[in-house]
C-alpha cells in the first residue's frame, strides 16, 4: 500500500469528530488519521511510516495539552523526512508571536481560523494536497477527480513536455 495520509491533531473530541466528518469526501483517495496530542501524533506518524504510507498534510490545532501545535509543526519542518508534509494550523487562539513563529520557522502553508466552514476547509485541504501530490507523486491522474483538476492537468501536461 502507498497511501497519502491526512493527519489531524486536535484534542477536543467534538471538534476532532467534526473535522473528520468534514474530511470524509477525501477518504476515497486519502486516509484520515486522528491524534489528540503531539505525542499521539508522533505515534501515528511512526505507524503510518511503518505501514509504508506517508503523511501528506498535517492539520494541527495550536492549543494542545503538553506540547503546542506550532512546536510540532516546527519539528516536522526540521526533519528531512517530514519536511515535504504540508502544514496547516487550525486554531481559534494563536497569539501573534506563535503565528509569526509558525510562518517563519514551521514554513506554515495555511492558517484556518475556528470556527471554520466546510467550504473553506475543503478548499484549503484540496489546495494543499494538490501541491503535495504535484511535488511528490509520479502519477497524478488518480487525483484529478478529487483534488484541483485544472492544476493537476496543467502539471501533467508540463511533465509531458519535459519528457
Amino acid at each position: 500500500m502507498n497511501r497519502i495520509v491526512i493527519l489531524v491533531i486536535e484534542d477536543e473530541p467534538e471538534v476532532r469528530e467534526a473535522i473528520a466528518r468534514d474530511l470524509q469526501s477525501f477518504t476515497g483517495h486519502f486516509q484520515v488519521e486522528l491524534a489528540e496530542d503531539v505525542q499521539d501524533a508522533r505515534t501515528v506518524m511512526d505507524e503510518v511510516t511503518t505501514g509504508g504510507d506517508r503523511v501528506g498534510l498535517a492539520l494541527c490545532d495550536h492549543l494542545l495539552p503538553g506540547e503546542r501545535g506550532v512546536d510540532y509543526l516546527v519539528e516536522l519542518n526540521e526533519e528531512a523526512a517530514t519536511r515535504s508534509i504540508r502544514k496547516v494550523l487550525i486554531t481559534g487562539q494563536a497569539g501573534l508571536e506563535d503565528t509569526i513563529r509558525a510562518v517563519n520557522e514551521a514554513d506554515l502553508d495555511h492558517y484556518v481560523a475556528k470556527p471554520w466552514t466546510v467550504e473553506n476547509l475543503h478548499d484549503v485541504v484540496r489546495g494543499q494536497l494538490t501541491d503535495f501530490v504535484i511535488d511528490n507523486e509520479d502519477d497524478l491522474l488518480p487525483y484529478v477527480s478529487v483534488l484541483d483538476g485544472a492544476r493537476l492537468m496543467a502539471a501533467i501536461a508540463e511533465r509531458g513536455f519535459d519528457r
Partner: protein, 663 residues
C-alpha cells in the same frame, strides 16, 4: 555689541532645536544660542572662545552625550579658568546622583533642568543663573538684560545680605584693626575723622543739602568725583525688569560714587536720599590734592574703602549662599512635585483599571444574558431533532437496530484516538480487512461478534453498514451539539456570576463555587498547570461576589504567569477560626525577588524597565483594595518554587450599603 553666548549640548537634533528656540524666545537679541552635539565639538568651541572676551553666562548639557556624560563635559569646562563663572546646567530625565554629587563637590554644577522642560521652568532657571552670572562677573552689563533679571531673587538676597552684613560687622572691625591699627575704631569715628580731615584740607567745603527722596546720582551718569555723606542716609537702587530694586540702604556707606571712581566707569546705582541728607562733594582733582596734603586722609580713606569693600564682598558671599539655598529649595520642590505627579499618575491608572473592570463586568453580564437565548434554542433543537429522528427510524424496517445505533452514538464517551487505533488493529487482526475494521471501529463496532450481529440478516452487507454509519453519525452529531451547548451554557453561567455586579453584597457567597467559576474561565491557560484543590469545609460568607472573583482571577493570573504557564497551583481553603475563612494560592514558580516582596501590593511597584514584574502591579493592588474592603487581610510569602498568597476574609460583614458603590 557682541551678544552673550548660551551654549547647549545635546546629542539629539530635535532637543537642540527645541532648546535653541525656547532659549532664543526667552532671552532675546542680547543673547545668542549655540548648540553642539557632543563634548568634542563643544570643547573645540571653548578653545576658540578662550581667546576672545565673549561672555558665556550659561552652558546647558544633556546628561548623556554621544562621547561622554554631561557632568564630565561640564566639569571639564569648569576646569578652564575662563569659563569658571559660566553657570552650568545639566539637562536630564533621570540624573545619576553620584555624578551630580561629584560635580557639585567641584562647584561645577549650578542647576538641573529636568527633561522634558517647561518654558516656565527654563525661564526661572535662566533668569536666576543669568542674574547671578552678571552680578558676579559683569554687573555693568545688567542693564542690557533687564527682562532676564530675577528681580525677587535679587531683592530678597540683597535685603538678607544687608541684615547679614550688620551682624558680621564686629568681625569686620577686627579685620580692620589688624590691618590699620591696634585700636578699635568704630565706623562712625573713622568717618567723622575722614570728614574732619577733608574739611581741614579742602579749599571748598560747601555742603549740599538734599531733601529725602531726591535723586543724587543716576545709574549711567558719569562720575567725576565722590560725595561724602555727612548727615542722613542714602539708598542705592537699580532699575531691574521695570522695578526699582533696593541694593543698599544701611550698608550704602558714607562715600557715594566710590565704586564708579575706582573702576573709572559710569555710576552703577541710582543714589537717592533716603532721609534728608547733607553731603560734601569732592571732585577727583580736589581729592588728589587733599591726599597730597594729608597722609592721614589716605589712611582714613583706605579704612573706609576697605570697610566698604569688605561689606560688598560679604554681601556677595551671602548672596551666593542665599542663591544656593534657593536653588536647593527649588530642587526639593521639583522632587516633591515629581513624586506627587507620579502618585497622581498611579492613582489615575488605578482608577482607570477599576472603572474598566466595572464596565467589563456589565458588558460581560449583558453578553451572558444575550447568549442564553441562542443556547436555549440550540438545546431545544437538539431534543426536537432527536425525537424526529427516532420517529423516522421507527418507520424503517431495521428500526430497532438503527435506534440502538443512535442511542449508542449519543451516549458513548468518545474513544481516545489511541484506543481507537488499538481496537482497529485488534479488529483488523480478527477480520483480516483493514478498511472494514476502520469503518466498524468508527461506528463503535469493535469485535468480530458485534460485527456479526450488526450484519445479521442484511440483504446487502454494504448497504446495512452505510445505514448504520449514517445513524451513528447522527447520534454523534446530536451528542456533540448537546455537549457543546452545555459547555457554552456553563461558560455563560460562569461569566454572569463572575461579573455579578460588585454593588450588591451577598450573604451566601460560596468561596469554592467562586473559585471554580474563576478556574473555569481560565480554560486554556490552565492546561499545562496541575491545579490541586485542597478544599476544607467553608461556611458561606458575606461579600461582593464579583469583587472576590476578581481577587481570585488576579491571584491565579499572577501564579500562571510566574510559572510561565506550567507548574503546580495549589488552592487550599480552611477556617482559621470561627469567624474567618482562609484561601491560600500556592504556585511552584521561581518566587518573587526578596527585595520586591514588601512592595508587591504597592501601587508604584514596577521594575526599572517599566515592565511589571510577573504581571504584578495594579492587579495585586486591586486585590488588596478588595480584600481590605471586606475587612480581610492579604499576605504573601515567597521562596523559589513556592509562592503563597494568603487571603483571610471574615464570614460576616458589617452591612454598609455605600461600600459597594466604590467599585
Amino acid at each position: 555689541m557682541t551678544a552673550f553666548l548660551i551654549i547647549c549640548v545635546d546629542g539629539d537634533p530635535a532637543t537642540r532645536a527645541a532648546l535653541e528656540a525656547d532659549i532664543g524666545r526667552l532671552t532675546g537679541d542680547q543673547f545668542r544660542v549655540e548648540t553642539y552635539q557632543d563634548a568634542e565639538s563643544t570643547l573645540a568651541r571653548t578653545r576658540r572662545l578662550a581667546e576672545s572676551d565673549r561672555l558665556v553666562p550659561v552652558m546647558i548639557a544633556a546628561d548623556r552625550l554621544p562621547d561622554t556624560t554631561g557632568i564630565d563635559l561640564l566639569m571639564e569646562v569648569h576646569r578652564q579658568a575662563r569659563f569658571r563663572g559660566t553657570r552650568k546646567v545639566l539637562l536630564s530625565a533621570d540624573p545619576a546622583m553620584e555624578d551630580i554629587g561629584r560635580a557639585i563637590g567641584k562647584r561645577s554644577l549650578d542647576g538641573m533642568l529636568p527633561f522634558p522642560w517647561t518654558l516656565e521652568r527654563l525661564e526661572g532657571m535662566l533668569d536666576s543663573l543669568i542674574t547671578e552670572f552678571f552680578i558676579e562677573h559683569a554687573p555693568e552689563e545688567l542693564d542690557r538684560i533687564p527682562g532676564l533679571v530675577d528681580v525677587s531673587l535679587l531683592s530678597d538676597a540683597f535685603s538678607a545680605a544687608e541684615r547679614k552684613a550688620r551682624t558680621t560687622d564686629r568681625q569686620l572691625r577686627r579685620l580692620q584693626r589688624s590691618f590699620l591699627s591696634d585700636r578699635e575704631v568704630p565706623d562712625d569715628e573713622v568717618e567723622r575723622q575722614l570728614i574732619a580731615e577733608l574739611d581741614s584740607v579742602l579749599s571748598d567745603t560747601t555742603r549740599r543739602h538734599i531733601s529725602a527722596g531726591t535723586p543724587i546720582l543716576r545709574s549711567g551718569d558719569p562720575v567725576d568725583g565722590i560725595q561724602v555723606l555727612v548727615e542722613g542716609q542714602v539708598k542705592l537702587t537699580r532699575e531691574l525688569g521695570g522695578r526699582e530694586v533696593v541694593f543698599h540702604s544701611e550698608t550704602a556707606g558714607r562715600i557715594i560714587g566710590l565704586l564708579a571712581v575706582a573702576r573709572n566707569r559710569p555710576s552703577f546705582f541710582n543714589v537717592t536720599a533716603d532721609t534728608d541728607v547733607t553731603v560734601l562733594p569732592v571732585s577727583l582733582d580736589d581729592l588728589d590734592e587733599a591726599l597730597q596734603l594729608s597722609p592721614t586722609l589716605a589712611i582714613h580713606l583706605v579704612t573706609v574703602i576697605v570697610r566698604s569693600m569688605a561689606r560688598r564682598m560679604l554681601w556677595g558671599v551671602d548672596q551666593q549662599i542665599r542663591i544656593d539655598r534657593l536653588n536647593r529649595e527649588l530642587a526639593t520642590d521639583r522632587d516633591r512635585l515629581a513624586t506627587a505627579l507620579r502618585e497622581l499618575e498611579n492613582t489615575q491608572a488605578h482608577l482607570i483599571e477599576t472603572e474598566k473592570m466595572a464596565t467589563l463586568g456589565q458588558l460581560v453580564a449583558g453578553i451572558g444574558h444575550e447568549l442564553n437565548n441562542p443556547v436555549a434554542a440550540i438545546e431545544r433543537a437538539v431534543d426536537f431533532l432527536r425525537a424526529d429522528i427516532e420517529s423516522i427510524a421507527a418507520d424503517h424496517p431495521d428500526g430497532p437496530r438503527l435506534q440502538a445505533m443512535l442511542d449508542t452514538a449519543q451516549s458513548a464517551q468518545p474513544l481516545s484516538t489511541r484506543d481507537e487505533r488499538r481496537k482497529r488493529a485488534e479488529l483488523t487482526a480478527a477480520l483480516g480487512d483493514e478498511s472494514l475494521a476502520r469503518r466498524l471501529v468508527r461506528i463503535g463496532i469493535t469485535t468480530a461478534d458485534d460485527y456479526q450481529r450488526a450484519i445479521d440478516g442484511a440483504a446487502s452487507e454494504d448497504a446495512r453498514l452505510d445505514r448504520l454509519e449514517q445513524y451513528h453519525q447522527l447520534g454523534t452529531s446530536l451528542r456533540n451539539l448537546r455537549s457543546s451547548a452545555d459547555r457554552i451554557a456553563a461558560l455563560v453561567q460562569s461569566l454572569r456570576s463572575y461579573a455579578r455586579a460588585g454593588r450588591e453584597m451577598a450573604t451566601d457567597v460560596d468561596i469554592h463555587a467562586s473559585l471554580e467559576e474563576t478556574l473555569l474561565l481560565f480554560g486554556h491557560d490552565l492546561r499545562e498547570i496541575d491545579v490541586r484543590r485542597d478544599y476544607g469545609e467553608l461556611p458561606p460568607i458575606d461579600g461582593y461576589p464579583g469583587q472576590l472573583n476578581q481577587v481570585w482571577t488576579n491571584l491565579i493570573s499572577n501564579a500562571v504567569q510566574a510559572m510561565e504557564r506550567s507548574g503546580t497551583l495549589t488552592i487550599q481553603t480552611d477556617t482559621p477560626d470561627r469567624d474567618h475563612v482562609r484561601v491560600r494560592m500556592i504556585d511552584s514558580g521561581p518566587g518573587i525577588n526578596p527585595d520586591h516582596l514588601d512592595r508587591v501590593f504597592d501601587l508604584h511597584f514596577t521594575t526599572r524597565e517599566g515592565r511589571v514584574e510577573f504581571g504584578l502591579g495594579l492587579g495585586l493592588r486591586i486585590c488588596q483594595d478588595i480584600v481590605l474592603r471586606h475587612a480581610g487581610t492579604i499576605e504573601v510569602e515567597s521562596a523559589p518554587g513556592r509562592t503563597c498568597f494568603t487571603v483571610v476574609l471574615p464570614t460576616r460583614q458589617l452591612l454598609d450599603e455605600n461600600d459597594g458603590d466604590q467599585l
